[in-house]
């Protein structure tokens, strides 16, 4: 783990995070992009805080708080000025002045860390390095964010299939089992490969408990509840099982899964519930994740609320719809079908496909036809040897087993034409080649041969 460093182009950051989660890493993962360096503090494999070189905590936190309308920009500016003048940390001042409560601050810090993590997950280039250390600094009371939550929420918000290999399922989707080739082995393997990354001590059991509950009717949310795990965890596990072909999403009877709109990350059910309509109108920056609305603890009237920016269109709607991913596969299947249709009736087209091969095909067929004629010729002569005549048809040769069925056909298909006389037979291929054979000269078939031999025998002359 000490040597965990490399480039994002070579290893995705999501992999690195899952690895740290699996190893329950503790330390700081620094990621240097083109214009920014971000450090992610990891405690026992979970994200606890994040810092950016070009963006102070105060700036990031301020953006979140103003974006959610909890603190006005003016107040933050004043507190910032006080901070610079040596008046203490902005977060402390916020608490001291009762602008926000401790829980709200922790939630904001949590979302700040999450936002920076999402930002860094979106980078295509950069270097990362993990500095292991026993001491990890983070604000007391901030609930660590499990890596699966970070990744699943990020995949949702970025609408990125790239991050996890596919879009994670929504809590409303329904899964069914594909096949059970060897569920136990697959689950075990999945456990080895994935679940440690999900910080489970008993991954196999967890996967089994999910697998056992998948019945084609329960939604992902229900499965998570029944299996006693968070929605994010269940969604990631189900996605991985789907990728391992243990499960598939039911199509057709399930309405398209309602994706959460971009940047409206809601915490899990066991965390504070978002409810403010202002949250949906949060600014588009990845780091401006809205906070759950928590009533200010102060009795004083809240400071002026910053006017929320207009809500951006969801990413998907901004894009033109491209060709469906199955189109290329359909084209590939079409190519195979077309090639089969082209070659099956005339298999020699495999080697001689093009129009300029026509006379070569003709010559090739002529040679093949010679082999066919030779076979029929041998069969017909053998028939003659036994019967004293040539067969009346080629079917007769097939009936006595001399010729195989395909021996009746010419090189290019089509039945061979055949006619016989008492002393000869003729073969005619549909393409035009023909051949006539007879018994003349064949000392085994020609009855005249014997007679001629007798005539040519030198006479026996008796001399007195």
């Amino acid at each position: 783990m000490d040597n965990l460093e490399g480039r994002i182009e070579e290893r995705r950051l999501s992999e690195v995070l899952l690895l740290l989660a699996r190893q329950r890493g503790r330390g700081i993962l620094t990621v240097q992009g083109d214009q920014e360096i971000i450090g992610l503090s990891i405690l026992d494999g979970q994200l606890v805080s994040a810092d950016a070189l070009n963006q102070s905590l105060e700036e990031g936190l301020g953006r979140i708080l103003t974006g959610s309308g909890l603190v006005s920009a003016e107040v933050l500016a004043n507190l910032g000025a006080e901070h610079h003048a040596g008046g203490g940390r902005v977060v402390d001042l916020l608490l001291e002045r009762n602008y926000i409560g401790r829980d709200t601050l922790n939630a904001a810090l949590r979302d700040h860390a999450y936002g920076l993590c999402v930002q860094v997950l979106g980078w295509k280039r950069g270097e990362y390095k993990f500095y292991r250390g026993d001491e990890v600094a983070f604000e007391e009371g901030v609930a660590p964010i499990p890596i699966e939550e970070v990744l699943v929420r990020a995949a949702d918000e970025l609408a990125s299939a790239e991050l996890l290999g596919a879009l994670p399922p929504s809590t409303e989707e329904v899964f069914e089992q594909v096949d059970l080739l060897d569920a136990s082995m697959a689950a075990e393997t999945l456990g080895e490969l994935l679940s440690p990354g999900l910080t489970s001590t008993e991954p196999g059991e967890e996967i089994h408990s999910l697998l056992d509950r998948v019945d084609g009717s329960r939604t992902v949310g229900l499965l998570a509840r029944d299996a006693g795990m968070s929605d994010h965890r269940a969604r990631l596990l189900l996605l991985r099982m789907e990728q391992a072909d243990l499960l598939r999403r039911r199509q057709g009877d399930v309405p398209p899964s309602p994706r959460r709109p971009a940047f409206s990350a809601a915490p899990p059910a066991d965390e504070a519930k978002p409810s403010s309509p202002a949250l949906a109108a949060a600014p588009p920056s990845p780091v401006t994740v809205p906070l759950p609305v928590i009533e200010p603890q102060s009795e004083e009237p809240p400071p002026p609320v910053a006017k929320p920016a207009p809500a951006p269109l969801p990413i998907r709607e901004r894009q033109r719809i491209g060709p469906p991913p199955w189109l290329a596969r359909l084209l590939a299947a079409g190519l195979l079908v077309a090639a089969a249709v082209y070659c099956l009736p005339a298999p020699w087209r495999i080697y001689l496909p093009f129009p300029w091969h026509a006379d070569l095909r003709q010559a090739f067929d002529t040679e093949r036809q010679a082999g066919i004629f030779l076979q029929v010729d041998r069969a017909a002569r053998t028939f003659f040897l036994l019967e004293g005549r040539f067969p009346e048809s080629l079917a007769e040769l097939e009936q006595v087993g001399l010729l195989p069925r395909r021996g009746l056909f010419a090189a290019r298909g089509g039945e061979l034409g055949y006619s016989a006389t008492a002393t000869s037979f003729s073969l005619q291929a549909p393409a035009g080649a023909s051949r006539t054979e007879g018994i003349g000269g064949n000392f085994l078939l020609d009855p005249e041969f014997q007679a001629r031999a007798a005539r040519e025998e030198p006479p026996l002359v008796l001399l007195d």
Partner: protein, 559 residues
């Protein structure tokens, strides 16, 4: 008469046969009829007698195998088994195997007879060994094997292009779509994209043109090794016609009447058409000393000494350094009783080749006939000095044949085959095989240019070209090459395609290959069986391997 349809044989003057040889041949026909008659009567003694007559008759002509009669006996065995006369079938089978032990058909017949009895026999499979024993069958089998390999590579190449399209094609389609998208509505984009991708189907040989077209289009989306495979496919597609044409020419000669006759003589087979076929050979190459030499050796085998003598002398007119021809001429004069002339010719043989032990030995025999025993003994010593063991064998054989004919003319087969090929090609309509060369060069040139212009993608399993969902386990199991291409392992992908493609190509190649002229074949659908069983086994192996293999899932996403 065996031969080739396209061949326009000259009027085949049958080889000259003396009345004695004709009588021997007629005796074979008579013995065959005797054998048939005895067989129908299930007279085992009679069949044995007739069989011995046939074999000794052939042996007197220097030939020991009677393939036509063996085929006839095998066919009769099958007929008898069908009629339920199994004893007759066994007699016929035994005769077939004795008449020509080198034929596969008697063993095929044995399998059919066993089947008629309700038994199973592996005789048909065992018979396949005869492919090695027959020059023609070996050539046909090798040629067909070559065609099968070619078809396998081409089919695998076609499937490889399809797999590349299935895995990487989304990028290509998306790029085309992206170009068109700003300028027209979506439905028009779809139509135009499909038209741009599929227009080659409208051409003659459309699917094959489409393969070339897609291989070029997908070039930019392939990794380095994928490109090598694609380039190999294009090259093979261009060169395949040249390879097929070469095979065709070789087999054309092998299947010709003349070449078949030569093979018969070399193998000691006396077929009913042998002398007519040798006449065809002489008519095709009337001036060839090689053919004359071969025919002279045939005449020696038949014991037609005057004919042999004349042919040897004609050979010597053309090839005065031909020691074997001098030897053959000497042997002919010896048998004609002209020992003085024989001695002169044999001495010429020694001038041409002083190390010719047979010439020394025959010289010794000729001196002996003229009672010149000192010279005879000296010549014999010379022969023994050169080849002691061989001469000892000759001495034992000399009681029967007196002098030794080496039959070197029969060894000039390769030379004669080349001459037949040359004579034949000069008369045939030349197929424009050369038209295949420019496309091959063009394909490779395109590949090279693309390779230089478009940088190859790095081969990396982590490289996710698009967000196409991964195929499920069944697809990975039964779509060979798919998972490998996705993992950027093109060589492994192509290798994975070879076995199923070879199996699929087998029945296709059998339909388009050169037919082995076998009769009485027990299983004519063997290739389909091999393909069916092979594919099932292949699928089973992949299934089991897939089952045992750990589920590999990239932490970054699906493969």
């Amino acid at each position: 008469m065996a031969g080739v349809a396209a061949e326009a044989p000259p009027e085949p003057g049958e080889l000259e046969l003396t009345p004695q040889v004709r009588s021997e041949l007629a005796g074979l026909q008579e013995s065959w009829l005797d054998w048939l008659s005895a067989l129908y009567q299930e007279d085992a003694e009679g069949t044995d007698l007739a069989l011995a007559e046939m074999q000794s008759g052939a042996a007197r002509m220097g030939l020991r195998r009677l393939p036509d009669l063996s085929l006839g006996a095998a066919a009769r065995a099958v007929g008898a088994a069908d009629e339920g006369v199994l004893e007759q079938a066994e007699l016929a089978l035994a005769a077939a195997e004795r008449l020509d032990p080198g034929l596969a058909e008697p063993e095929f017949a044995r399998a059919l007879v066993a089947r008629a009895r309700g038994e199973r026999s592996l005789a048909a499979l065992v018979a396949l060994r005869h492919i090695v024993g027959s020059s023609l069958l070996t050539r046909l089998t090798l040629a067909n094997f070559g065609l099968w390999m070619l078809a396998t590579l081409l089919v695998a190449g076609v499937v490889f292009v399809a797999v590349i399209m299935a895995t990487r094609g989304q990028q290509l389609v998306a790029r085309l779509f992206g170009w068109l998208d700003p300028h027209m509505p979506s439905w028009a984009c779809y139509i135009l994209t499909l038209l741009l991708l599929l227009w080659p189907l409208l051409l003659p040989a459309g699917p094959m043109v489409l393969i070339v077209y897609w291989a070029i289009l997908l070039w930019g989306h392939g990794a380095r090794f994928e490109r090598w495979v694609l380039a190999g496919l294009l090259l093979l597609l261009g060169l395949a016609p040249l390879l097929v044409n070469e095979q065709r020419k070789r087999l054309g000669v092998s299947l010709s009447t003349a070449a078949l006759a030569i093979e018969d003589v070399r193998a000691g087979r006396l077929s009913g058409t042998l002398f007519g076929d040798l006449g065809v050979l002489r008519a095709i190459l009337p001036e060839s000393p090689s053919v004359r030499h071969l025919l002279a050796d045939v005449q020696v085998m038949l014991g037609q000494w005057p004919l042999a003598r004349d042919l040897y002398m004609q050979v010597l007119d053309e090839e005065p350094e031909n020691s074997a021809a001098w030897l053959g001429a000497g042997v002919s004069f010896f048998h004609l009783g002209d020992f003085e002339r024989a001695i002169g010719l044999l001495q010429q043989a020694l001038v041409a080749d002083p190390g010719n032990a047979a010439a020394h030995f025959n010289l010794s025999q000729a001196y002996s006939e003229l009672l010149r025993f000192d010279e005879s003994a000296r010549a014999l010593r010379d022969a023994q000095r050169l080849a002691p063991q061989t001469v000892s064998r000759w001495i034992r054989e000399a009681a029967e044949s007196r002098v030794i004919a080496t039959g070197e003319g029969l060894e000039r087969t390769a030379q004669i085959r080349r001459q037949i090929g040359a004579a034949w090609r000069s008369g045939e309509v030349k197929p424009s095989w050369y038209l295949s060369l420019p496309p091959a060069v063009l394909f490779v040139a395109i590949a090279m240019v693309l390779h230089l212009l478009v940088p190859a993608k790095k081969s990396s399993a982590r490289d996710q070209p698009d967000a196409v969902p991964a195929p499920n386990r069944w697809a990975r199991t039964f779509l060979p090459g798919y998972a490998e291409v996705e993992a950027r392992r093109p060589v492994a992908a192509f290798a994975a395609l070879l076995v199923p493609c070879a199996l699929v190509a087998l029945p296709l190649v059998v339909r388009s290959a050169f037919r082995l002229p076998w009769l009485l074949v027990p299983a004519s659908q063997l290739s389909w069986w091999v393909t069916g069983v092979g594919l099932v086994l292949w699928a089973l192996v992949r299934f089991l391997r897939q089952k045992r293999r750990p589920v590999r899932i990239s932490m970054a996403g699906a493969k």
